[in-house]
Subunit: 290 residues, 2 copies
Amino acid sequence: MQKIGFIGTGVMGAAMITNLLDAGYPVTVYNRTKVKADAVVAHGATWADTPAEVTRQADIIITIVGYPKDVEEVYFGKDGIFSGAHAKQIIIDMTTSTPALATKIANYAQAHDIAALDAPVSGGDIGAKNGTLTIMVGGSETAYHAVEPIFTVLGHQINLFGQAGAGQHTKMANQIMIAATMIGLSEMLVYAKAANLDLQKVLMTLSSGGADNWSMDNYVPRILQGDFQPGFYAKHLLKDLRIALDGANEMHLDLPGTKLAERLYTKLSEEMHLGDEGTQALVKLWASFQ
Amino acid sequence: MQKIGFIGTGVMGAAMITNLLDAGYPVTVYNRTKVKADAVVAHGATWADTPAEVTRQADIIITIVGYPKDVEEVYFGKDGIFSGAHAKQIIIDMTTSTPALATKIANYAQAHDIAALDAPVSGGDIGAKNGTLTIMVGGSETAYHAVEPIFTVLGHQINLFGQAGAGQHTKMANQIMIAATMIGLSEMLVYAKAANLDLQKVLMTLSSGGADNWSMDNYVPRILQGDFQPGFYAKHLLKDLRIALDGANEMHLDLPGTKLAERLYTKLSEEMHLGDEGTQALVKLWASFQ
């Protein structure tokens, strides 16, 4: 069985590692904050002290860390993946990161006879736990097919979208759709509350027709209960929107809805300091939901 | 059985009248353009020459016309409903119109011992045909219960939301949600196309997770086939957004997403003259989909 190296044992990574261990894969792990790896090590993973060390002990290296700068550090930094990598390995970055960085990693890898895939996911902590993530992949078909059995342990809806960066671009398309929906559901609630409507009844009515969407069905009940716990951090959606807008700029696209979403989530995260709440906290931009 | 008067035999009205006739109700009809009533008259409806004349022959009068100014004309104009109305009748405006006009009609009606409901619908021509409309009602509980059997012929999800105007407010909440979703799906497609992604695969992937929504599932396939036929006219969504923003202004609410949607649909309808296409034509604001 292929030996897996896994860097990043946060909520997502830990659940994915557990599924890989349960499927019989040997997994060596590293995390910047070591204590966050305790649970997976107790479950059977092997600890290594650096990304380079993880890489030396594995056939396939998976990363899922926080921000593009963390990806950069983990791959290109001191004791990073590339300082421990050797020919014929496959590296997979599952962080939601920039298409440009995915391309940079892929180019560097190719020059050293290493295969690289970008493979961001959606489905959140529950999808990670249940092995039902959606996985959006960019890179070579050969590498994709070589690791498909591993993806199948982690997710259900798995697709190759093209060359390096295509996985990240698909994830950006996903986040663009979600961000607009979050604005819509917030303004819908703000309007309905001001009009003194029964918000539960409004939700039931809107869900039954053309206004229906996953975010409304899942987040509005939480908002109405005052639950702003993160299913997905507001600050992470903000990071994604900035990546999407950078990508749009490079492609000379004007996306006014996505720009508005970036402005609103910036206000939420950086002025109101609510970036550690869930994306549904957007509705707190309006006084009636504070 | 209650005698129904029905004013407005457009796509929606004609389908609703057919269902009422099939359920056994006698229906008298009027339409500004008489020829558009031919089909329902052939199906068993009785023609009358003015809204006042329709009103004289009915217990319950239903209207579903185009714009608020048409509603105003039909109720308060020469030979309008109120010139033929008498005490104990029930009038129901199912046009998507302004909460303020709904209140004006209700106040006038109340002064003449007539009951009034505002009851806009969603579900489009298919919902009207199949009798599965969502009906959002404002007005008195007594009047609501008196006409509930009629609503049940026309729709499935039927709710009373409060006093006069509450039905219209609920419909506005619905349109606010939909408009943001239309921006999101347009920008998602524009981004994904520029990134050279397979758009069918992107749709399939996004539909499987947190980005899923009714509009994307129904309109993106049409867009990808170049089908911009109106399920719902872009110009009508624009009308609704202007009503919603007027309502928001009166309630001192700032809704930047809804304002953006109004600007974009204005550009589509009034600069590009595509208001007679479906709401999915929004994506034509970007050159890559023209």
